[in-house]
């Protein structure tokens, strides 16, 4: 069962600014992203203006501000993947999904994220769909991979 925002916030002491990041992380783990309400509520709880909470949250790559899609696609943009052409992979995924990195499709099926390194440098270029790795991919594979997930919904 999903914990409510109230429950997560109540785990941390009111007014303790040092709990900002753990609190945001907990909320993201539970809901998959940080919405406006969460940021406002966190700010009120730890006595930090919402502009600050939002500013700090946007500083870190780990936080998302739009809901993830049913299939969350991560394309690796780490050094090894970059050397193996991951930028073209990312652009191709963007083209096929008609999405930009960081966005979620309107029907909520797909979301796209570029990440720094997924620790599979030997199999570059790598992408990951809902935790499942696709290794040594080529541009020609992309449409097929995505169509596979499209057909499962």
């Amino acid at each position: 069962m999903q914990a409510s925002l109230d429950e997560i916030i109540s785990r941390y002491k009111a007014g303790s600014r040092e709990s900002l990041l753990p609190l945001l992380q907990d909320i993201q783990i539970e809901f998959g992203y940080l919405n406006e309400e969460a940021i406002l509520r966190v700010g009120q709880h730890i006595k930090l203006p919402s502009s600050k909470v939002y500013g700090i949250a946007t500083f870190y790559d780990q936080f998302r501000f739009v809901q993830k899609g049913k299939f969350h696609i991560k394309v690796c943009r780490g050094t090894s993947c970059h050397m193996h052409g991951s930028l073209s992979i990312l652009r191709e995924v963007e083209r096929v999904l008609n999405l930009k990195e960081g966005q979620t499709s309107r029907d909520g099926r797909f979301s796209l994220e570029a990440v720094s390194c997924m620790g599979a440098c030997g199999s570059a270029p790598v992408m990951n769909v809902n935790g499942e790795f696709k290794t040594a991919i080529a541009i020609q594979d992309i449409a097929q991979i995505i169509n596979f997930y499209r057909s499962t919904i």
């Binding site: 940021i39 406002l40 700010g43 009120q44 203006p49 919402s50 502009s51 939002y54 500013g55 500083f59």
Partner: protein, 574 residues
Amino acid sequence: MLFDIEVNGKTIKARREDTLLMALERNGIKVPTLCHIKDLLPSGACRMCVVEVEGRQGLIPACSHPVEEWMKVRTHSPRVIKARKTNTELLLSNHPDDCLYCERNGNCELQKLAEDLNVRERRFYGKKNKYKTDPSSASLLRDPAKCILCGRCIRVCEEIQKITALEFIGRGNKTQVGPAFNKGMNLSSCINCGQCVMVCPTGALAEKQYPALLQDALHNPEVKTVIQCSPTLSVTLAEEFGLRAGKDIEGVMYAALRKLGFDYVFDTSFGADLMITEQATEFYSRLKFGKLLPMFSSCCPAWIKYAEQTHPDLLENVSACKSPQQMLGALVSNHFAPLAGMSADDIYSVSAMPCIAKKFESQREQMTHKGITDVDLVLTTRELARLIRLNGIDIEQVEPELSDQPYQSRSTAGKMLAVSGGLTEAMIRTLHFLITGKETTQLKIQELRSGKGRKEYFVKIGEYKLGFAVVNGIGNVEPLISEIQKGRTDIHYIEVMACEGGCVGGGGQPIHPEKNNIKARAKSIYELDEKESNRFAHQNASLQSVYNSFLKEPGSELSLMHLYTTYEEREVMK
């Protein structure tokens, strides 16, 4: 404790607690800065103040490095100059090339640095992000494309005003400055004080302006234009024309305004006298009934927005009087217009203020009458000066004139609204008359004239032992409010002005003011008070005749209808 350090081959004295920059400045050595704000903690972000220190490998930012005894410093060595120049070029690499069309052309710190450092070509082409300007606020226009991320606005908003409406958003080359969720400023906790505009080195933050509307009105024969000038303006405007700070050019200003084409020129000090008389009456009646005390002042629109969004439970303690601008605006619509045989719709009512929050105030729903604003357009000191220059008026050749009837006379009490503490002094004078029926002889209240952010004064008037508190800089109001919420009862009247020093330090004043200029403006106001004969708001002859012929008495039915207002709780992103 003083000790010697060596700078550029010469020995200078430095103090132990100083930063390197402070020591250099004290000895007349100028080092360029960009992100630095005097009296705030250094941030060291822009690296413009770097200097060479012998024995240190890298260059050292003077603004954030403490001065030490062993130091041998070079402030303008070729290496230092090269670093500063490259820094500037990098800042320019993604800056829009539209200086000629920029609000701050000729008054921009980045432009000046580029010029001083001899930047003559574009060596770096940075990636330019696409930004939208944010026109959502009634007072502010934000253009992130021109922002160089120095963070001054953020620090002023957070450390001095304690509002924290702005913050860095994102990271790396996508960083920008904006309010929470990067939404419009109108939804943020911004109180429109404009202190961010005052510290912005470029044109990224500026006041909202409508020059075309004003030009149309001034040149439309069917529209009568009326302008009112804030008590602060006459002692500030001179600076915009290179004259001595604090020089009072009241008469010259009125004459210049007539030359601009305004049909009627009024002085908001009259509105201030009116407000003091009404507010003293309101305060006296609260005293008599012992209700809704302490009473907060209501003339500062930035404070009003702050109260509405932060302390809705205190709103009934805020005086219901409109600000002088809006009182005079309402009188122009409802008293002056019929008197001059016009309808309020035929009048284009302008005000010139040292403030950008006044722009917001004039647009408040409560300040409209059947959908028509009492004050149609608010100009800042800067905009007015530009308008005067645009029309080719040489301020030094203009013969002084008087403002127009029926609001011609004013007291120096009204004039004192320009400075923090001045409103309270003026209130005490009128209150003394209301309570005892006699004028007070103690006119100068030294306790209220200090430069402190919070001042208190206790006095016995008639049978009442009264406490007055004065706050300037909105960041200083919260401690006082929490003392009152914890049960402090010796304070009866609280004057709040959102800007440091009061309106003389307002967000619509000339950009980058020296602290000394703000002091000179205040001094000039106090000198007027010493010099002139009418020092009591309620003795203002024009005001008395307006009461006799129109309003009848303070707090009358007509007063309540035109001069009082209401407040609303505001939901903002705090």
